[in-house]
Every structure is written in structure tokens, then in C-alpha cells.
Amino acid sequence: MGDVTPPLRVVEDAGTSPADWEAVYRSHVAALYRYVYARTGNKPDAEDVTSTTFMRALPRLRPDVSDGEIRAYLRTTARTVMADMWHDRRGVAGTPIDEENIANAWAPEPTNRDVDGILTALPPNYRQVLELRFLRGYSIKETAAAMSISVSNAKVMQLRALRRAAGQSEVPAS
């Protein structure tokens, strides 16, 4: 643990009244959901992670902490919940559940990437296929038609474009 980590003002049995925590919940739920959604990319997972995060974090929040501290604590808790979910689902080593890790709301976290910048840097056909698929929600057929290419070409192109945009150089062989 870093020496400069400030003590976390989050305790159990914080004694918050229902009005307090409900206000905290209402003012943070949408932002936390968006944060989680940008990492899970789908509604069922985003709802599960958001629920679990609030169930765990709310009883431990004191009403007098700042909004920024609450947000940081919620995000750190959510990251731990997601790590556990991915560990379970993907066989990927996530962050182990570790109380200090959860509590260290000041842990650096990856900033949100600049999606526009990533798309702009791509070759035009790669950018177009990702915009049509992800930002406009076109199906593969609609995407192929809009780009005047075959469906199988569109399928392959979206994969190449996504890998390139994610900074992967080689196409995985396996």
C-alpha cells in the first residue's frame, strides 16, 4: 500500500437513515451504471454488477463523506465485483477479493478511452464498419449493404477493425 493513501472514511454500521442512503443511491445510480456498462457492454451484466455494488457498498457509506469519495468507493467496489464475475466467467485472473483493495478507493483506474479518437485513427472502411455496427446498431446484413460489400466480408472486417482499434497487431491463430 502506498504511504500517501488517505484513510478511507467508510465504516460499517454507519447509521445512515433511509432518507440519507436513498438520496445517495438516487444521485449515484445512473453514473455508476454508465461506468459499469462501459466495461461490461450489456444490460444484464450492468444491472447485476450495479445491484451487487450498491448492496455491498451502501451499508458502509457514511453520510458525511463527499460525493467524490462516494463515487470513488462505488467504482472501486464495482471493479472488484466485475473482476470476480470475469474470473468466474472467463477463467481470467481478476483482482482477488481483498478488503484493502476494495477499500482503497484511491487506487488508480484506467481512464475512459476516447472512442472518437480511436475511430478517427482507423482506415476509413474500418472506421465505417465499427460506426455502423456499434454506434448505429446496424446488423451485419445492413452493414454489408450500406458498405456495398458481402456479408462474409463485413463479418471479417468488423473483427479486423475491432482488433486493430484495440491495439492488437496479430490476428489470433487459435
Partner: protein
């Protein structure tokens, strides 16, 4: 298309339909899958919680707040601050291999996990085990937690005995909580009855644990 291609394609299809992606190891495509989630979130309106969800969760939280489900006899306060490590209590029960007996309470069939052909596997450092802290481990097919209980280091299965979901450690309330139906277990593995989960829920199996030098080891099945 390669296997990896088909896997990534299925992943994208699931996200674009707002469904859970399929299980499995993402392999080298992890960055692409992470970016796919971010791109999908950039789709206008897709990343907003529904009002129904927000209200339903508020009700669930109110219920949790009104009925603290687990009466704990001895609650301790833990502040995540420096000085925690100095707290005493670690190491008291070490040096001897210790097979915990099956939990008498609960009437379930769970006992300690004793593999027919086992290995001691290091899963944590002794220095990392602190009062009030939990270390998750996966070893030899066993998912578990290592933590301290009454000054002794203890290892226990992290799999809920209701429907097999992976439990979360709720250090503030000295318990394990299941994310699926909110079943809760005290730190010795005793389930708390009542709730939307099965009444026949059994205690969590314990895992044999020992300290060798600086390592905490658990006894788990040999796997290839």
C-alpha cells in the same frame, strides 16, 4: 474464419443484442472485447439504467436496510487505514496442520474438503492475511477464501451451497454474501436461513490450511 474469429463474433453479437457474452477464455482478444463494450456503451442511450431497474434496486436496498439479515454477536470496526497490519491475532494457530471438523450446526451434509489425492498449494502470503481481510484463491478446482477467524487462519469454500454462485466477502458484516439470491453465511460457514434461497442450504465446506514459512497453503485436489 478461425475459432478466435467465431468467438469474437459471438461476443460482438451478444453485446449488440444487449445480452451477456458467452462464457470462455477470451484469449488474445481480451482487448478487442473490452473495446467492444466501450463502443457499445457509446451508442446513444444504451448505457442508461431503466427506471424500472432503478426503482427495483431501491426497493431491494430498502429491504436490506430495514432488515439487517445477519445479527452478528461481535462486530468489529475496521478502518482501512494504516495500523491494521499491526493488529495482533495472526499466526496463533500455526505450525500444525489442522483439519477442521465438519460443522456441527446446520444439519447439512457439508464437511471439510478432503481430497483423495491432494496437494498443499500456496495461495497467499502470511503477511497478506490481516484481521478483517479476505484473500480469494482458486487452486486445484477449489474456489475459496483465506482469512482469519478468532485469531486462526481459516480457509473455506467460496461456492454458495444454494446454487453454486461465487460468494463475496462482506468484511464489514463478518459474513459471506451470495450475489445470486443474497444467501449469507457467517465466517465459520454456517448459513443464515430465510430469504429467497433454499431452506435446505448447507454450511460451506472448510478447506485444510497451514502455514509454511511465509506462505499460506491449502490442501486441494491434484490437477494436471
Amino acid at each position: 474464419m478461425t475459432r478466435a474469429d467465431r468467438r469474437l463474433e459471438r461476443h460482438i453479437e451478444a453485446l449488440l443484442k444487449d445480452r451477456r457474452p458467452p462464457r470462455g477464455d477470451p484469449g488474445e482478444d481480451l482487448p478487442a472485447m473490452q473495446l467492444a463494450a466501450e463502443l457499445h456503451a457509446a451508442h446513444p442511450g444504451s448505457a442508461e439504467p431503466s427506471p424500472e431497474f432503478v426503482d427495483a434496486l431501491a426497493r431491494k436496498l430498502r429491504q436490506q436496510h430495514d432488515e439487517p439479515p445477519v445479527p452478528m454477536p461481535q462486530r468489529r470496526r475496521f478502518l482501512a487505514a494504516a495500523g491494521l497490519a499491526a493488529a495482533a491475532g495472526v499466526g496463533a494457530g500455526f505450525g500444525v496442520e489442522r483439519l477442521r471438523e465438519a460443522l456441527a450446526e446446520g444439519g447439512g451434509s457439508s464437511g471439510p474438503i478432503v481430497p483423495a489425492d491432494g496437494n498443499w498449494v500456496a495461495v497467499a502470503k502470511l503477511a497478506d492475511i490481516k484481521p478483517g481481510g479476505f484473500q480469494r484463491f482458486s487452486a486445484g478446482g477449489v474456489e475459496g477464501f483465506v482469512y482469519t477467524l478468532n485469531g486462526q487462519v481459516q480457509a473455506i469454500s467460496a461456492v454458495c451451497t444454494d446454487q453454486g454462485c461465487i460468494l463475496m466477502a462482506d468484511a464489514a458484516h463478518n459474513r459471506f454474501v451470495c450475489p445470486c439470491h443474497y444467501a449469507t453465511f457467517s465466517l465459520d460457514g454456517t448459513p443464515h436461513k430465510g430469504g429467497s434461497y433454499s431452506d435446505k442450504i448447507t454450511p460451506l465446506p472448510t478447506v485444510s490450511v497451514r502455514a509454511t514459512g511465509e506462505d499460506i497453503e491449502v490442501l486441494v485436489p491434484k490437477t494436471v
